[in-house]
């Protein structure tokens, strides 16, 4: 029993949840009033778009690529959501579908020409931002009523952000970790040659994963404007780094195929809580980014320790 509890595999799985729990308890201790429906709702609200962006990034990392454009992409979908989707829903839906298709096409391009995804997505980040500025030159627009309604839902007992993130985590877990095609998708990142030899189309797996990332990016943008009620081309610039950090905090690794959807969602929640925690500690925002980085390094260092033990066994 003790062996199982101290096995590296178990420790690694538990680390994201444990760091989240420690942070939450620290916040409850600092500000007891956050320990309520209202407090949790407020603190965790912005985790929904961040969790969705993190899942999008996780899909890309699964196939051993990295997406440096997810932040501006979320900003673009937010701008489309607050303008076209609200005024002419059909045009809005078409545009958002076009965004998803563009992502799938990017996946195809990266696979076909064997391009480094970092370079392609870095370039695309400026394209997304440029289109967003064209659609919405000055901040504004209005989110469609149903998006605002959905994000403002008051679920009984458990606040909506928690319900939403749990549902997101579980659904993606079932699709990616429990289904047979999910195993193929993960294999395409971990060991592409084996998957290719087994007769699966690697082009298709890339397109599916990039398309899924685009889809979750769209969801992230829509949930974000549901909270803010208006958009801004720069609204989600920081999400690129949040998303990568969330995946890694949640137990994912850059080697491809080694990811955890539930971990990624918990990672996103941990990141959001870090901001609140540091504010409650009255740490100046100038130091907060550094402190956030510090927390990230501590968690990663713990994981490195666990991995080293695994190596010894």
């Amino acid at each position: 029993m003790v062996d199982r509890l101290t096995s590296p595999r178990f420790l690694r799985a538990v680390l994201p949840a444990a760091s989240f729990a420690i942070l939450l308890i620290a916040i409850f201790y600092l500000k007891p009033r956050t320990m309520s429906y209202f407090g949790l709702n407020l603190m965790l609200q912005y985790t929904v778009p961040i969790a969705l962006a993190t899942i999008a990034q996780m899909f890309i990392i699964t196939v051993n690529d990295l997406d440096l454009s997810i932040g501006p992409f979320v900003g673009l979908t937010a701008c489309i959501g607050a303008t076209w989707l609200a005024d002419t829903p059909l045009l809005g839906i078409l545009a958002l579908a076009g965004c998803v298709a563009a992502y799938a096409a990017l996946g195809a391009l990266i696979h076909w020409r064997n391009l480094p995804s970092i370079v392609v997505t870095l370039g695309m980040s400026f394209v997304w931002l440029g289109i967003a500025v064209l659609i919405l030159p000055t901040p504004g627009g209005t989110a469609p009523g149903w998006v605002k309604w959905l994000m403002g839902v008051k679920t009984p007992v458990v606040p909506f952000p928690i319900v939403a993130t749990v549902v997101i985590g579980l659904v993606v877990h079932l699709l990616l970790m429990r289904s047979s095609y999910g195993a193929v998708l993960r294999g395409a990142g971990g060991n592409p040659r084996a998957i290719g030899r087994a007769g699966w189309s690697l082009l298709k797996t890339k397109m599916v994963m990039f398309g899924a990332a685009g889809f979750f990016g769209v969801l992230s943008g829509l949930s974000l404007i549901g909270l803010t009620s208006a958009a801004d081309a720069h609204i989600a610039d920081r999400y690129t780094l949040y998303a990568i950090a969330g995946v890694i905090l949640g137990g994912g690794e850059f080697v491809g195929g080694r990811v955890s959807p539930i971990g990624a969602v918990i990672g996103a929640m941990t990141l959001t809580l870090t901001g609140s925690f540091l504010t409650f500690l009255k740490i100046s925002p100038d130091w907060q980014i550094g402190a956030q980085g510090g927390i990230l390094i501590i968690v990663l260092a713990l994981r490195a320790l666990i991995n080293r033990r695994e190596g010894l066994v």
């Binding site: 500000k31 912005y46 504004g140 803010t228 208006a230 720069h234 609204i235």
Partner: protein, 335 residues
């Protein structure tokens, strides 16, 4: 939250029955949520906030008034900051916002939690918040109205700000409206000076050879000194240049005034407007009646007040005015 609401209702009832007795704000906490601190104007704004609120805390007017600046001028970051302030239980939040619309969700949550929200400079459009806006339109118009008192008419050169920013459009619209009402003036040239002396100097130097004699230059602030240099370098007579309260502009004006009796005026927004927002928040917590939309008076420097303003301004800074509770009350009743 309910008890806070009840206190609020109680305070309102108290004021309604006996206007002389006011709610006590000595246990109230007011926080500043600021989106950016990267230029001299914002630095002056934060320094004014610290000075005025520090005194207010020391004499027990309010319990606490910390300032928080987001690191990256990002909407999502500031929204999260406001939500944390709600959880911290501040009684009022004063905001200089990163976006007029995209913070409305967080601002509404603050209002729903019974928190007074006052926005200034970068205002928010959420109806439940109070707004202290700057009437840039009027600022542009005032310049032309001043010219009408000094000159019989003539050709004007307009120096605009940063293209595509709404402040630039507003000031310029005000100037053009003023010219339309005073047809003795005519704008014969227009350049973008980006609110910076060096850019303005280059732009004015570039357009000057193509212009007839200029009787006055209308500006947006931060560009008057550069314009004066460009006229001097081209060997043309110095026209009447409206200044924008920057230290170098006032210094040049003072030198000219001493040398040849040069006369002009200077107008811009004082960074101390943040302290006005602080007092407005305090007054609302105090149960006073305050209109939802207020307009900040801009800070005008005249021939007579030039020396005092110059002496009170740091080299490289902007002329400033910090508001007292009495000043704020005057603005509220006047607005």
């Amino acid at each position: 939250m309910l008890s806070k609401l009840l206190i609020g209702v109680g305070a309102a009832a108290l004021c309604a029955t006996a206007t002389i007795s006011l709610a006590d704000t000595s246990d109230k906490r007011i926080a500043l949520s600021n989106n950016y601190a990267g230029n001299s104007w914002r630095q002056a704004m934060l320094a004014s906030w610290e000075k005025v609120t520090g005194a207010a805390v020391a004499d027990g007017t309010v319990a606490e008034a910390p300032a928080f600046t987001t690191a990256e001028n990002q909407v999502t970051e500031q929204a999260a900051q406001i939500q944390n302030m709600i959880l911290e239980g501040y009684d009022a939040i004063v905001i200089n916002a990163a976006s007029p619309d995209a913070l409305n969700g967080a601002v509404k949550q603050a209002c729903d939690a019974g928190i007074v929200v006052v926005s200034f400079d970068g205002i928010v459009t959420e109806p439940c918040a109070y707004r202290i806006a700057v009437d840039f339109h009027a600022m542009g118009k005032v310049e032309v109205e001043y010219l009408a008192t000094r000159l019989d008419g003539g050709d004007l050169l307009e120096i605009r700000g940063l293209a595509g920013v709404f402040v630039d459009d507003e000031i310029s619209a005000g100037i053009h409206e003023g010219v339309a009402e005073n047809p003795q003036f005519k704008i014969v040239g227009s350049v973008h000076g980006d609110w910076a002396q060096d850019v303005a100097q280059k732009a004015v130097a570039g357009i000057l050879p193509s212009l007839p004699e200029i009787s006055a230059v209308v500006t947006q602030g931060g560009d008057g000194y550069g314009a004066a240099q460009a006229f001097a370098a081209a060997g043309r007579p110095t026209p009447l240049i409206v200044m924008g309260n920057r230290y170098d502009e006032m210094l040049w004006w003072k030198e000219q005034k001493d040398a040849n009796g040069y006369e002009t005026m200077s107008v811009s927004i004082a960074p101390g407007v943040g302290t006005l927002a602080f007092w407005v928040a305090q007054m609302i917590l105090d149960g006073k009646e305050v209109p939802q939309d207020l307009t900040v008076p801009f800070l005008t420097i005249t021939q007579d007040t030039l020396e005092d303003s110059l002496a009170a301004t740091q080299p490289g800074g902007v002329a400033n005015v910090e508001y007292s509770l009495e000043d704020a009350m005057a603005v509220v009743s006047g607005g």
